[in-house]
Assembly symmetry: D2
Homo-oligomer: 367 residues x 4
């Protein structure tokens, strides 16, 4: 069935596989009147593309986005935006072996089980390249959110055993360190750890964190389209993500109520919380505090050690993966987390605009 569409009123449909002609996204439901150029999108795609640092694959992909529709005289028209990125650097020869084997930790086996066969070149649709469409669409959502006073900040919190020190949090470092850590010192340690992993033909997992400022209280739709539930789905829909924590997350399960409740207080007429264990949601709706959540990412499954597996004929075999693979998924997934968060929040904010009769009356009677 159709599983490549995301969102209700700000809706994206992504398409494309690792080694096809192109990848892209269609954004349907983008409000009219947003100034938009390809540069607005390219800046985010550039953060996702490989070949930029020693800890990412040396594949070169230019990942140039083209806006094919939906913009006229520099502004969105309200009609669908079609965004396309041509594939340019695919070496299909690298992937001949995996045509017949099921790589451990990869989607090869379930793809065959579901569809009867698969595009085995570079993982096909299960490749990380699939996220290029999400990032392109997310860039548009981020621009809209920015116009509404909302900022979305995602970053690497840890790689393997190396975590950032929040005392040294430096937002600018997210864009300058190869790890996307907001702590240059931790980043160096993480790079060293990754080099050890590479030397051992191994890879590492890590954690991405994200906070979102400026979201007004009341965003999210009880009971199934809750803000935190929607964020959880958005994040787990990214390949390799294995866990999601809202606010203090798993710690909440060890705590007592007196430790976990966030007290409200008021200052200058503004209702606030003394703490933010909840991560900015209550009852599945934003509570006016910053949203905060974490995403746990598994290690790159493509490692260069020999691994036991099974081939399509159902025989036990050993596979030795070749090719170009990142030793860690996390840094390139940071912008994907940011994009998916933006898409999720914007959609729920648009849906919130008809929560009350007074909103409808104001819109249709006073206009």
């Amino acid at each position: 069935m159709a599983g490549s569409t995301y969102g209700t009123v700000f809706q994206i449909t992504t398409w494309g596989e690792s080694h096809g002609k192109a990848l892209g996204a269609v954004i349907d439901g983008c409000p009219a009147g947003l100034p938009l150029t390809e540069k607005d999108i390219q800046i985010y795609l550039d953060r996702r593309k490989p070949g930029q640092t020693s800890i990412s694959t040396p594949r070169k992909e230019s990942d140039q986005v083209e806006i094919l529709s939906g913009v006229f005289e520099g502004k969105t028209t309200g009609t669908p935006l079609s965004l396309m990125i041509r594939n340019t650097s695919q070496k299909s020869s690298d992937y001949s072996q995996i045509a017949s084997c099921y790589r451990p930790g990869h989607a090869d086996y379930p793809f065959d089980a579901k569809y009867g066969f698969r595009d085995y070149r570079g993982g096909g649709r299960s490749s990380g390249r699939e996220t290029a469409g999400r990032v392109a669409a997310g860039a548009v959502a981020l621009k809209i959110l920015s116009a509404l006073g909302i900022s979305v900040c995602a970053y690497t919190e840890s790689i393997g055993p190396v975590s950032i020190n929040y005392d040294y949090f430096d937002e600018t470092a997210i864009l300058t360190t190869p790890t996307c850590m907001p702590d240059a010192e931790a980043s160096v340690k993480a790079e060293n750890y990754l080099k050890e992993c590479q030397a051992a033909k191994d890879s590492s997992g890590g954690v991405i964190a994200c906070f979102v400022s400026g979201v007004p209280a009341g965003i999210g739709e009880p009971v199934f389209e809750k803000l935190d539930a929607s964020l959880a789905k958005a994040m787990l829909s990214i390949g390799a993500v294995k866990a999601f924590e809202m606010g203090d997350g798993i710690l909440a399960s060890k705590r007592k109520g007196s430790e976990n409740n966030d007290s409200f207080f008021t200052e200058n007429g503004l209702i606030q919380k003394k703490t933010n264990h909840s991560g900015g949601t209550l009852g599945g709706m934003s509570d006016g505090s910053d949203l905060f959540f974490k995403v746990h990412v598994k290690p790159t499954p493509s490692i260069f050690q020999p691994q036991d597996t099974v081939n399509k004929e159902g025989e036990n075999v050993t596979i030795q993966i070749k090719g170009r693979h990142d030793p860690v998924i996390v840094p390139r997934a940071v912008v994907v987390v940011q994009a998916m968060a933006a898409l999720t929040i914007l959609d729920l904010m648009m849906l919130n605009m008809n929560a009350r009769m007074e909103y409808l009356e104001k819109f249709y009677r006073e206009d």
Copy 2:
């Protein structure tokens, strides 16, 4: 907007609040020909209802389900099933105080922020009672899954610091211990811990785990309707859930690829995995292993200690919550986790039936 509907082809819509006349669910898209009686549903509702043990609120709610439509001569007809549970034991007087105050850890404030006012009686739609409709609908999904050879087992893994010992796992204990722990000894410890919490006018968080057996490989729809992503949303949509882990979950972020990959092997023509770190999904689709996931639940926010908060007039006040509240949410949420898992998996299994041309050809050409 409409946030009370869940699922694409097996679709439920729940309705009702804590102190309204009734609660319920409409199931739309239930296949015809399923034998179904109210008893099939009541057995699950009885596991959710309060007043049964020393560690749950002494409120008595009979929670009798009535099937209002969709069943004829003992079988589902393919038309919507309307399930209703009358509310019987509501004491609205208990809740007069919270009409004007925002309880810490509760949804009161975001509800007011979104809708302008709220049904303050017993939490209204944000009450745990809302889940009665989910459980009733989930019972139908569980019966269908059972007919397809699939079992869904949810249980309490920990309460505060007390965890079960998997060496003593006893599935029958889930239904007999007041904690829903599959380990009677751990359950006694957890009960004692909860009594301490109660004595201290406090509450406790905990963890629910769930495994699902019998799901064939290939269930889940790349890229946004992934099985694990859908489960994450389903679980976070349950009030008080703050984190979701698929398989080894957060541990994956600390691991190396060589530790985290599950090797395939084949035995008697059956493709299997040597380990199941992934929790039974790869690329967002089932991989033929048992599904396994964990859900982290925050402590009951209604505690009997004085708490700082704000009232509707925006004044700083102290609130002292009265009434009848569980010292822990986890045991009564176990069956909700089971229900939401069943609804999610069944919907994706039904959607999987048209994944291949050969399925369509077999269905329409050979019938």
Copy 3:
């Protein structure tokens, strides 16, 4: 699959069959703050119920609606409204014959073909009684539209060969004539024609027309959720409807462009049209003129003449239908047309509220 849910953000789910315990609708996405009582709904249900005139079945159904959730202190809360109507007057004995035969013009055969069996009592879910849930939900939509300055007027335009004379159009007569014709004289003729049909054990078709005033220009979402396309689906989803015309409808296919185009003009700063052949839509969006459409309804298929048909065993048989049946469907369907129009227009108006960036900015930055 789920086919009983209608709408995107103002979403209804109807349930119930002719001879079940009850029928109803859940409205999800109703804005908070709408004053609502059961009387607001009952007034529309009373117009649909049978047993009121000589030209409708003498069955007595009280059709009392009960609001089970979603209203607090006289206003909608933003949470789902559950509306229930208990069935009271079903005589299942009348329908024993049709259990084994496929009535011509009825849904018996396709129901069996699809689901393997059917609730044969009174047509089950394919009964006209199914529309009670739509009317109840539509009453809420009509109340909201009214608050936004929009009125929806449906009426009988013709029954068999008898049409109203638009020169004598009298809106008040819609509620006072047994035919729902806005022309008392035509109504008397139509009643006489129906008596002839009844005497001949026959039935009659007819036409319902509807105009909607006050809809601002721009409602409808290109290209698949066009206003006229959505109205067409809404109308054809009503049992027995066989054709839909927007504006001049079928006449447009015989015309020349110079005859069919509506010229614009401006008066007092208001853009208007000299004619309204289009029925108030252009490009699938409202154009600021009154919406106008027609719905063609087939004759009641339950006639009392012997008819050739087939039984479940696949044998050719003759059936003679008994029971209580209206000689014409049209008058009781008028309020159903009105309800479905209101549901459709309201949903699209709510969706229109985020068509432009300036709307989002005004909502979120100035609030």
Copy 4:
């Protein structure tokens, strides 16, 4: 909001406007294993493209489709198919006048009312060119339906006053006459009529009819996703369509039940109908007979006579449209009707596959 997506499990999203860089469609939910090449699609696009006959605009558009994703080794993979058609022949200079005026019969005014401005070049998204994406996607649906034994035949039934004679129905003529009439003699008359219209700087409406053979009984989902209701929406979603008739359509409203009911009979174990007034549906589901419906299309609104209208400044003006316009929309819309019918029927057939428990049990237990 998102209005450019159609279908539930076989879902298309179209994008692109008349004078943008390209147009296209993404098909999500296409079953895996369908042999597919660009030729399969091009054949249908070629029937839609202009510049082919004296009665269509002399614009030349090559309308070459490119499959960008979703096909591997000649077969669909189950992942999204992205279909793109580059725009090549746009002369934006032709449209400078309409930037400031609202053309009668066009969507200019509602577009401005909704979005605040519009892409005025060639009608933008409201151009007939938008249907290229539908036709490309429909070609894939048609190929799947063909594999399931279903054929969809659409043709011109009338243009202005000239109707085909069903006694001379010749299906092959649909593809050879410039009018797409299955009656060469009527086609000549229609061409002559159109030449008169052109000479008078005028245009003509017409009727498209469609029948579909091979659809099994039971397709369509009561009560809102009925087959005929879905077809009605599909057809009215095509620009310029003003009316839809299922089977005998508007005639049903003039008839008696004894004239309108279709009697069943059985022959060689096959249940059939003696007549097909219903057009192949009962209760919104297919009844095993051929589907038959008609679509009424208004005359081309772009006529070359001077017309009264209003400009963006709200002044009364006269407009004289220039450029290249078809004197009739019907012939080029025939393949669009065919495409939309195929998309609608296929989606409902895929949804029908889980109508019964026995289908689920057969699929999951015996596979």
